[in-house]
Amino acid sequence: MASINYATREINCKLVYYGPGLCGKTTNLQFLHQHLNRGRRGEMVSLATPGERTLYFDFLPVEMAEINGFKVKFGLYTVPGQVLYNATRKLVLRGADGVVFVADSQWDVMQENLDSWQNLQDNLAGYNVHLEDLPYIFQYNKRDLTDIAPVWYMEYLLNARGVPYTEAVALDGRGVFSTLNILCRFVIRDLVHRFETGAF
């Protein structure tokens, strides 16, 4: 849940990159960290194993824009994709204002995509949050590989609500910024709406 600091006129939002193991969540954050203006991002915190697998989470604070005189800051988090770390995933997901579901486009991991997608919904349900109420988008990553499913098939598998999606190659940065920008737009809309309706 976003927090508003009236004294400093700041709004802090939490965005979570979710998805199966090795789908490119951390790569997204690493690219953002390397290519964002230094003035608009903080240092990236990454707790990973020697094998570059996320152990707990990655965190990257970024600053976006001013809206109605309030500075909007986003905390970008990733979850560990490995099946075992569900308690950690659930903990990181707590209070999220938006979610990017990073799906691996390779045919061989399509089942892992589905499992992780179901896991996301289960974990959100644990906090009594429904995807009807939480802005989220899909990022179909690794589009540069050869043995990948067509986007329309992944849409058929995952995107039952027709939410926005992006095609990405996180390693090269393709689609990384557009993913973040699209989600931020929806998160801000949702934030403003909740503020106006008194649901905040």
């Binding site: 001013e66 598998l157 931020c184 929806f186 809309r189 403003v192």
Partner: protein
């Protein structure tokens, strides 16, 4: 103390426990005395007067009890923090039981509860501690799952490789076919199993592949059911006994019965007649013996082999955007850009 002693004399069981506790205390005292003498903390056993050793023993019992609780919690959770909290939980449980015991003893002996609780000291410590330890342990065990997950705060310990393998989903049935699942066939002419299959005298050489229990057939639409052409190697991966009838490098036309979007792989109903009549298929076995191991079955086929052969309309589903997508745009000053 006097009240407790009186009640112990009146109650044989209580007296037995008192005796047991005294024995335990003496044993612990002996164990404690040996290192004390050995390391020079006391010159002789006689130096260790009961007034000195009793508080030490009581402290030792407390320590042992705490370690026991922590060990139980630690072994279950494999987490140091949970182990420590388990020790605390154990002591909480212990004191609850201690209070209940005090109430029980005082009501049985007609003594004030405060007197009973105050009287449960000295040698009865051993009895009390052991009773609490046992009770606490028993009460802790139901919390096994909670402890394993650190009361929901930590991840469950990794299962052993064998357990992981056992939990992996598989189409292959582990038991003989029970017939509780009725296979629905859509095209009678194309899906009728060969007559010899029904009368097969021997069990199939490989487990018959069945749909998962939660399998829900997709509502068929026009043109969904039909034939698709897949590489023979894909068929052979699921049905090795088709080896004699197929040429691995040629595609085989098989009947596509169902698509299961919830699964990575689509599920198709393999008709052996199709194998025999496929462009890449070999000759049908000449005798019944050769035909005996041949059964129609479900095969797993990755969608990548057939999605281009199935009408795209099948994959078009009705989508209702969530409410947050319909919210009006908010003017923003900027967005994130790649600047470095």
């Amino acid at each position: 103390m006097a009240a407790t002693s009186q009640s112990a004399e009146q109650e044989p069981m209580f007296g037995l426990m008192q005796g047991f506790s005294m024995g335990t205390l003496l044993l612990l005292g002996g164990l404690l005395a040996v290192p004390m003498v050995k390391f020079g903390w006391a010159r002789t056993i006689s130096d260790l007067a009961p007034t000195t050793i009793i508080p030490l023993l009581v402290g030792l019992l407390w320590l042992l009890e705490a370690i026991a609780y922590a060990l139980i919690a630690g072994l279950l959770s494999r987490n140091i923090l949970v182990a420590l909290s388990g020790a605390v939980l154990g002591f909480i449980t212990r004191f609850i039981v201690f209070l209940l015991m005090g109430v029980l003893v005082s009501s049985q002996n007609g003594v004030e509860l405060s007197d009973t609780l105050m009287g449960m000291d000295g040698p009865s410590w051993a009895y009390r501690a052991l009773a609490m330890l046992v009770t606490g342990t028993m009460l802790l065990l139901p919390f096994r799952r909670m402890l394993q997950t650190g009361y929901g705060l930590i991840d469950a310990p990794a299962p052993s490789p064998s357990a992981s393998r056992a939990k992996q989903f598989s189409f292959a049935s582990k038991a003989p076919r029970t017939g509780h699942y009725q296979i629905v066939r859509s095209a009678p002419t194309a899906q009728t199993a060969p007559a010899t299959t029904a009368a097969a005298p021997t069990a199939p050489r490989h487990p018959v592949i069945q749909p998962p229990e939660n399998f829900t057939p997709v509502i068929p639409r026009d043109n969904v059911f039909g034939t698709v052409s897949v590489p023979a190697s894909v068929i052979l991966a699921s049905v090795p006994e088709a080896q004699p009838f197929l040429e691995a490098d040629k595609p085989v036309t098989i009947h596509l019965a169902y698509l299961v979007p919830q699964l990575q792989r689509g599920t198709a109903w393999l008709i052996w007649q199709q194998i025999f009549s496929a462009p890449g298929g070999g000759a049908r076995p000449a005798n019944e013996q050769a035909d005996a191991g041949v059964r129609d079955r479900w095969v797993k086929i990755s969608p990548k082999y057939f999605i281009t052969q199935v009408p795209r309309e099948y994959f078009e589903i009705q989508r209702i955007p969530p409410a947050w997508m319909r919210l009006p745009a908010v003017p923003q000053e900027s967005q994130f850009d790649d600047v470095e």
